[in-house]
Structure formats: C-alpha cells, structure tokens
C-alpha cells in the first residue's frame, strides 16, 4: 500500500545500478532535496538553524566520512575529533591568511589538508588491525588536540588560545561571524552535505567502494583478486578524512564561530560520531544521516519533553540523555548491528507485502 514496486523492471544495467532503483524512492529523494534547498531556507529562524539544522547537517558529513572508513573499509578510527580539529584549524588559518577568498574554497582546501593528515595517521593501518588500530587513531586524537593547544601559530597567538571565525562571505553573502543570517548558514551547509552524500554514494557503489568492502570483509581474499591493500586503505583514510575535515571546518566557522580545541574536538566528539554511525548503520550513507539526526534530535527532544513539559531539573535530563544513548548503543550492538538503516530496510520489505504478508 505504502510502497509500490510491482511492474518496475530494470532493462539496462545502468538502471539497475541507480541509487534509487524504485520510482517511488526516487521521487521522494527529489522531493526531499527540493524541500531542503528551496523551502526550508525561507522558513527557518535562528533557533531552528542553530539547534537543529546546522548540527544535523554538519554531523551528517562527519558521520558519512567516518562511515566510509569504519563501515565500508572496516578500519576502526577513534580520531574523528582530532581530524575535525585539523579541518577547523586549517580553515581558520586560511580564513585569516586569505580574507578575500570565498569560504567555499577555504572549506574544501581545509578538507584536503585533513585528507593529507588522515593518510599520515592511516599509515599504521597497513600493519595493524582492529583494536590496535583503534588505539593508534586514539593517539592521533590526543596528539592533534595537544598540538593545537600548544603551538600558538595555529591560533594566531591569541591570548585566550581560542580561535574565532572572522566575518567571511561567499558570493557576497556573509557565511561566518555574528552577523550571518540563518538561511545563509543553512544553505551553505546543506550544499556541502548534499554534495558529500552524493560523492560518498558514488564512490561506495563503484569499484573503489567494492575494494573497501573487500578489505573490510576479508583482506586476504581482497589481495588475491588484485586489490592493493596499501592504496585501498589509504584512499579510504584520505576520503574519510576529507569529509571529516570539511565537517570540522563548518563546525568551527559556520556553527560555533569560536572554538577551544580541547573542549569542542576532544575524545567525546570522536565517540559521538562513532555512536552516530553505530546507531545509524555501519556501511550505509542513509544510516549516517539517520544516526546524526537521532543524536542531534535526542537532546532537543528530551529537553522539550523533560524540562519544558514535565518540569524536571535540567541536570537530570542531561544525565538521562547519557543513559539513553548508552543503553541504545548496547541494544543496537546486540540486536541490530546495522542500525537504523537496517531497521528501515526491514520495514520497507515488510511494507511491500503489507497488509497481506502471506
């Protein structure tokens, strides 16, 4: 009833390898895109943008990046916070050094710089796997945060040790700084999110995605069919770090505006993004969005329900959130390791036959 795919047959391999082979899905996707780009910007206010849309969009990019590394290539990383910091500080240095250049360029170059750093810290993955690699990336996390705290050049010798986003524009519209309009910040991020998702999807459905998944599922067999583990793993690190760096740059410049590295890009951030892809779904682009939406909306929803409706104290609600997230992680790891994305897939399969499953 909800879901019709009867009578839809792909007659070419091109049709069959589409992202949304079913017409209904395809139109829904176009509809969401249309609403995201042409409707929401004209309806949002500061509250919606700053507490929901910006964190969701930016975390979604970070989750896509981490999902490429962890979910598709199977290389566990706990360094996301550190790599986001690289993106943020690279963006800051670029913004202050080249004030006239468009923000678009800054963010993309910040991503590229993070990709290089990511490859550097990805080198250990050629020799170690799993748990041990996670510890190696943890070292990256602590090292990078320490580096940005200790070397004053990175924060332009400011007295507070913080970095503050100066006012910068793209195509004449202010994107960063306190005078930015909500819709402009939103539109800037939504473009990055959509392009990131499309690129990630294109990569993961093609030959490089298969290389990553082959390495993830069985590295010996991957090598025997001609996958060079060196290039496969390092390309995953590079592309993953690129997205994470872009998200770090946006997080700092567009969303927060001012950053103290230990607080914002600490180990907690690494875990938060990791939780997003675990809850959302490892190895799924949609899962990255679902996980980001879930973990961004959960505190907001809890606050609305707990504080505003039920009148509970704020600290109880904040702790409740930790409890719920922790419990959900355990539940998902045991019951559905493929996360919300898999639940969605199962629901779709059920709906195909609903209401007559037999």
């Amino acid at each position: 009833m909800f879901y019709r795919e009867a009578g839809e047959f792909s007659t070419t391999y091109k049709d069959d390898s589409q992202t949304f082979p079913i017409k209904f899905d395809r139109w829904r996707y176009y509809f969401v895109l249309f609403v995201a780009v042409f409707v929401i910007p004209f309806m949002v206010n500061d509250y919606w943008v700053n507490s929901i849309f910006l964190p969701f969009l930016i975390y979604a990019i970070a989750a896509i990046g981490l999902n490429i590394l962890v979910g598709y290539c199977g290389q566990v990383s706990l360094g996301t916070g550190g790599f986001m910091a690289v993106g943020a500080y690279a963006c800051y240095k670029l913004m202050t050094s080249f004030p006239d250049v468009s923000m678009f360029v800054h963010v993309i170059i910040a991503g590229a710089i993070t990709a290089v750093v990511g490859v550097l810290f990805g080198l250990p993955s050629l020799r170690i796997k799993g748990f041990y690699l996670a510890v190696a990336t943890l070292a990256a996390q602590f090292f990078l945060v320490w580096l940005f705290n200790r070397v004053p050049w990175f924060y332009n010798y400011s007295a507070s040790g913080q970095i503050n986003a100066p006012e910068r524009d793209t195509f004449g519209v202010l994107i960063t700084g306190p005078n930015t309009e909500a819709w402009a910040a939103y539109l800037f991020c939504v473009v990055f999110t959509i392009v990131s998702a499309v690129i990630a999807r294109n990569l993961t459905r093609g030959s490089v995605g298969r290389k990553w998944m082959a390495i993830r599922d069985m590295d010996i067999a991957a090598e025997i069919i001609g996958v060079n583990p060196l290039t496969a793993k390092l390309s995953a690190f590079a592309i993953s770090s690129f997205f994470v760096g872009v998200s770090g740059a946006l997080f700092f410049s567009v969303y927060l505006g001012a950053v103290e590295v230990g607080e914002v890009f600490g180990i907690n951030k690494s875990f938060l993004v990791l939780f997003m892809i675990i809850i959302g779904g490892l190895g799924s682009i949609f899962g990255s969005f679902a996980g980001a939406a879930f973990l961004v909306l959960l505190p907001v929803a809890l606050k609305v329900v707990g504080v505003d409706w039920l009148g509970w104290p704020t600290d109880i609600v904040a702790h409740l959130q930790l409890v719920i997230v922790g419990a959900l992680i355990i539940v998902f790891l045991i019951a559905e390791p493929h996360g919300i994305a898999q639940l969605w897939r199962v629901a779709k399969e059920k709906l195909r036959l609903w209401p007559f499953p037999h």
Partner: protein
C-alpha cells in the same frame, strides 16, 4: 614420451598449448620445516592440471607459492616464459592468475553480484575523481564490466541469487560464487584449492561439469587440488603427486595410477 614443447592434442581432441607456468626446483621452508622440497613441474596452456597427495603433502603451500602468498627460499617460478620476481598476491592477480580457497574466502557482507564484480576489479581503471562523479566514465565502465560479470553469473547458473548477501547462502552455492568471482577476472590461469571439498555427489558432479565447461569454453588453464580421486582422474590431463613435500609422481592419470610410489603413499607400505 614424444616431444611436447609446442603442445599436443589430447585423446578427446582438445588442443594443449605450450608451457605457461613452470616451477623450477622450488623449496619452501617454515623455520625448520620443509613444506616443499625441490619440486619442479609445469602447467601447459589449456590443460587441467591436478595436484594431489595425502594431507600435509604441501599441495596448498604449492598453490600459495604460485599465487604469491609465499616466496620460496629456493627455486624460480617462470610465468609465460619469463622468470617471475617475488610478487605480492595482488600483483600476481593482475598478471591474470585467479584462485579460490579451500575454506571459502568470500566477502560475506556483500551481495553475490558485488562479490562477482570484485573479480572485475583488475579490469576497472577509472580514477577516484571520475568515480565520485559517477555519470560518464565510471558508469560506462561499471556497465561494461557488469555485462561480463552477468555472463559468468549466467554461466554458473546463479542468476536467482544475484542480489542475495553471501552470508545467507548454503555452502555449495558459496563455492560456486567463489568460482564465479575467480572467473570474472577472466584469468589465464585458474587455481582451484579443493573445489569439491565437503560436497555431496550431485554437487560434485555439478562442479566437475562447470570446471570442464570453463576449460572448454573460455580455454582457461586450470590447476586444481582435489582429494576425490575419481574426480581427479576423470577431469585432469596431467597429475602431480606430492607426499611429505616431495614430488613422487607426474604424468597422465593412467601413468600416475600405475606408479608404485604413488600407490605406496596412498595405501601405505608394509614395514618388514
């Protein structure tokens, strides 16, 4: 024996070409254990070459030497007439050598189609940038290679499970998918490590038919390890027999069957 350097024709009329792969005095040690001792043999173009022997004879080690997992301490591998320097397995794969494993080594998280498509990876060259665009080069390449993959899927009669995740398949089908993945690479030399291990008679017959068909239709040279003597004797053109790392026999199935050393290795010798 007559001179066969240019190849010969078998009794059933198949043309066997010149030598494609030659192993010369291969010795492989693991610490103090000599897994392979001074073994030489060759594989000719278009033939089905079997390697047999009791457990622990060094057959799989031999296959691992050919596919680049192990580098022998002594001896030289010649491929297509050229001495082959020590190579990584992925470089060997790019030379056109594909293999299957004794314990299935499929990518469990991917569908059958994706698994078969991974076999095409050595033929897919589009760069990261074009892939991230998809439209254009990447899509064309995907379609071209998909056609080849689908041909193999048809050939091995696994169309119905194309989109099924491999983890859900039964053992016999997994073996077939693994063969499909190896075939998708369009290899010039196909190595099969116990393709019929753990199968019932019917599945063995199916698999034998596929192996013969592959050899017949694609002209693929095949080297296989197998324990089922009936299958080996029926399928193969020539057989190498190994025991405790040494070669104890080499020749046509009939020659090997009559070889006293081989009989002793399989049936045991009376100690008197």
């Amino acid at each position: 024996m007559l001179d066969q350097s240019e190849g010969y024709t078998t009794a059933d009329g198949r043309k066997i070409g010149p030598v494609v792969m030659e192993m010369k005095n291969i010795t492989l040690r693991f610490g103090g254990v000599e897994a392979i001792k001074d073994i030489s043999f060759d594989i000719r173009e278009g033939e089905i070459r079997a390697i047999i022997g009791p457990n622990g004879a060094g057959k799989s080690s031999m296959l691992n030497v050919i596919s680049g997992f192990y580098v022998p301490q002594e001896g030289q591998v010649f491929y297509q007439g050229q001495p082959r320097p020590p190579m990584k397995p992925y470089q060997v794969a790019r030379q056109g050598i594909a293999r299957t494993f004794q314990n299935i080594a499929l990518f469990e998280g991917m569908t059958v189609l994706d698994n078969v498509m991974t076999g095409r990876l050595t033929h897919m060259k589009t760069g990261l940038f074009w892939q991230s665009m998809w439209k254009g080069r990447a899509e064309t390449e995907e379609t071209v290679n998909r056609e080849v993959a689908e041909k193999i899927i048809d050939f091995l009669e696994i169309q119905a499970i194309r989109k099924t995740p491999v983890a859900r398949l039964p053992y016999g089908l997994k073996k077939r998918v693994e063969l499909a993945r190896a075939l998708a690479a369009e290899p010039s030399l196909l190595l099969l490590d116990e393709p019929m291990a753990g199968m019932n008679v019917e599945e063995k017959e199916d698999m034998s038919r596929f192996i013969l068909d592959v050899n017949d239709e694609f002209g693929t040279t095949i080297a296989l390890i197998e324990h089922d003597m009936g299958v080996v004797m029926d399928l193969s053109d020539r057989v190498v027999v190994m025991d405790y790392g040494k070669k104890i026999g080499d020749g046509t199935p009939d020659e090997v069957r009559g070889n006293q050393d081989v009989i002793d290795a399989y049936l045991g010798v009376a100690h008197d």
